[in-house]
Structures are given as structure tokens and as C-alpha cells.
């Protein structure tokens, strides 16, 4: 009986979604907002080859700031929840093969993450992807060396310093540039080179570091309550 009602609700939801599908006739050209972003003079004003990065960092930079704040809050709440675990942790030792391979691979993975977020304005990639890759390197550390103490202080400092630099650069754009999160505070450079697009690579690198530190904090919170046996 209960399932019957749920089926009715979901069918109603599907009927609600149907007009959205019916009126959708396949875009033939860009919407007004997107064509504003893709105009030649606006692209040259921002000078970033990857338009998604331009939208995320400058045009819709406040969204990114709110997103980073939400992530910080979730990381803080998770750390608060999982902090006091008085249980005895019992862990099995890892083999030589695994630890050696992890030692070899971890620097390479972190380097890949840094490459991804430094090149975010030229190729697909950016702060969020790079942060996720760095967090997966941290997961490898946590799995390979579970008895090593996690350096909370370092990650805390990294997170707060990159957050402060992000907000500071944004405010600097308001002071000496055109507006909040304006990227013209640094020289724009030539289109398509690494040192271009003004402050976008700097801001996105700090976003990447912040996201990486927050995701690592969340993962460490979950790892610290594990035990084999």
C-alpha cells in the first residue's frame, strides 16, 4: 500500500518533468548570457583560454567562494563528529611491496594535481579537479602508512592561508581593479600561455590547495575511526 502511494508520487513527478523534455527542442545557438561571455572583446578582457574557468573564477566567482565555504563547514562538522573515538585501533601492517610503490607514486600524483590546477586556464582542469587528485594522493598515504600521525596543523594552516589569499585577492580586485574578483590586477599576458589571464591561475591554485586540504581533512576524519580485525 505504501509502495503504491510512492509509485503515484514518482509518476506525478515524472509527469511534472515531461513538459521540460517536451519543450526542449535542442539548442541551436548559445543563450544570451553565454554569448556575452563568448564575445571577442569579453574573451580578450579576461584572456583565459578555458571559458569554464573564466566563468568559475571571475564572472561567477562568488559562487565559488560560497562553495568553498560550504565545503569548509562540512569538513568542520565532520571533524567535530568524528573527533572523540575512545576505541582501540588495531591495524594490520602493510607489505613492503605496497609501501614502496606508494612512496614512489605519491609525489607523482601530487605533482599531477599541481599541474592540473596550474594549467586550469589553458586546458580542461582547475582547482576542483586538482584538489580531488591531491586528496586521492592523501588517501594513498593514509592507506599505506596508517600508523603515521596525520599532520592536522599543516593542513589547517594550508587551508586557512589559501582561503585568506583567495578572499584577499578578490578584495584587491575590488580596490584597484574594476570590481570584486576582477582578474586584471596582474598583467594579462598573451593569450594561450601559462603566464596569462591575470590573477586567474593564482586564484585557482589557491582554490585547489584549499579544496585539497578540506577533502583531506574529511578523509582523515573517516580514516581515523577505522580498524582491521
Amino acid at each position: 500500500m505504501r509502495n503504491f502511494f510512492i509509485i503515484i508520487i514518482i509518476a506525478a513527478f515524472g509527469i511534472m518533468l515531461y513538459p521540460l523534455f517536451d519543450s526542449f527542442s535542442g539548442n541551436e545557438e548559445l543563450s544570451e548570457l553565454a554569448s556575452f561571455y563568448a564575445q571577442k572583446e569579453n574573451v580578450e578582457k579576461v584572456n583565459s583560454a578555458n571559458l569554464v574557468t573564466a566563468v568559475v573564477v571571475t564572472y561567477r566567482g562568488l559562487d565559488t567562494m560560497g562553495e568553498v565555504t560550504i565545503l569548509f563547514l562540512t569538513a568542520a562538522i565532520i571533524a567535530f563528529f568524528l573527533k572523540k573515538q575512545s576505541d582501540v585501533r588495531s591495524l594490520r601492517e602493510n607489505t613492503e611491496i605496497f609501501t614502496t610503490a606508494a612512496k614512489l607514486l605519491i609525489p607523482i600524483i601530487i605533482m599531477l594535481g599541481v599541474y592540473i590546477f596550474i594549467n586550469g586556464h589553458l586546458s580542461p582542469g582547475g582547482g576542483f579537479q586538482g584538489g580531488a587528485v591531491i586528496a586521492s594522493a592523501i588517501i594513498l598515504i593514509l592507506l599505506a602508512f596508517p600508523n603515521k600521525p596525520f599532520n592536522h596543523k599543516f593542513f589547517g594552516y594550508m587551508e586557512s592561508v589559501s582561503g585568506l589569499v583567495f578572499v584577499g585577492l578578490a578584495a584587491l580586485g575590488g580596490l584597484i581593479g574594476l570590481g570584486y574578483l576582477d582578474n586584471a590586477i596582474l598583467p594579462l599576458g598573451t593569450f594561450g600561455e601559462l603566464m596569462s589571464a591575470g590573477a586567474i591561475p593564482v586564484i585557482y591554485s589557491f582554490v585547489g590547495l584549499k579544496v585539497g586540504a578540506e577533502l583531506s581533512n574529511i578523509l582523515n576524519g573517516f580514516q581515523s575511526v577505522q580498524s582491521d580485525s
Binding site: 509502495n3 510512492i6 508520487i9 514518482i10 513527478f13 515524472g14 518533468l17 523534455f21 526542449f24 535542442g26 539548442n27 541551436e28 545557438e29 548559445l30 543563450s31 548570457l33 553565454a34 554569448s35 561571455y37 563568448a38 564575445q39 571577442k40 574573451v43 580578450e44 583560454a49 578555458n50 571559458l51 569554464v52 573564466a54 566563468v55 568559475v56 561567477r60 559562487d63 565559488t64 562553495e67 560550504i70 565545503l71 562540512t74 569538513a75 562538522i77 565532520i78 563528529f81 568524528l82 589553458l122 586546458s123 580542461p124 582547475g126 576542483f128 580531488a132 593569450f191 594561450g192 579544496v211 577533502l215 574529511i218 576524519g221 573517516f222 575511526v225
Partner: protein, 118 residues
């Protein structure tokens, strides 16, 4: 192609909603939530697609002058980019709650949590 993606997204959303409403185990409800999330992302990316165009990255294949006629809509993609990361944060938060609840009541069945029911 965008029609196929749109239909897939809607069906995945409905599947996630079904899982959220019918399952009894909290972990399964959270899995349903993450499926729902993925479906929403598919729908948003499908709405951004423009027929026969490439990704919004300007290089020697797509020059600045012809960008208007060659790229897809970058705005929904940017929104989905942040939504995925928030989705991970929210999922982790829900799982932490689930762990805490399991520690209190020694069970994962939602029917046993009646503290706020009246």
C-alpha cells in the same frame, strides 16, 4: 544525443527518488541521494549542449573570433563543477551522521529512529 542524455537523466533522477522513499537502510538512502545527484548533473550538462559544437576551450582549433559559433554553453558546466564538489561534501556529512546514529542506537533501520515522531 542530448535527448538521450536528458531522458537518461530524468530516469536516473526518478530511480534515485524511488530509492530515497522506499529503502529502510540509511546507507541505501544515502546511495539513493548520490544517484539522484548524478542524474541532476546529467540533466544540467545535457541542457548546456548545442548541436555539433565543441567544448568551451579556445585553442588553435577554435579561435577567439569564431568562438560564438563553435562552443557550447559554459555556464551550466561551471555550475555543475561546483555542484559535484558540494555533493561529495554533503554525502560525507550524511554518512558521518549515519555513523553517529548507528553508534547511538546500534541499528541502521530508519524505522527505529522515532525520537522526533509524535
Amino acid at each position: 544525443m542530448e535527448y538521450v542524455a536528458l531522458i537518461t537523466g530524468f530516469l536516473v533522477i526518478m530511480a534515485g527518488l524511488w530509492a530515497i522513499m522506499t529503502q529502510k537502510n540509511i546507507i541505501r538512502i544515502i546511495i539513493g541521494f548520490s544517484i539522484f545527484d548524478t542524474g541532476l548533473h546529467i540533466v544540467m550538462v545535457a541542457l548546456a549542449y548545442v548541436k555539433g559544437r565543441t567544448a568551451p576551450i579556445l585553442d588553435n582549433m577554435v579561435s577567439v573570433e569564431e568562438a560564438l559559433n563553435k562552443i557550447v554553453d559554459p555556464v551550466p558546466q561551471a555550475l555543475v563543477l561546483t555542484a559535484i564538489v558540494i555533493g561529495l561534501g554533503v554525502t560525507a556529512l550524511m554518512l558521518a551522521f549515519a555513523m553517529k546514529m548507528h553508534k547511538e542506537k546500534k541499528t541502521l533501520d530508519v524505522r527505529n529512529f522515532k525520537d522526533l515522531k509524535w
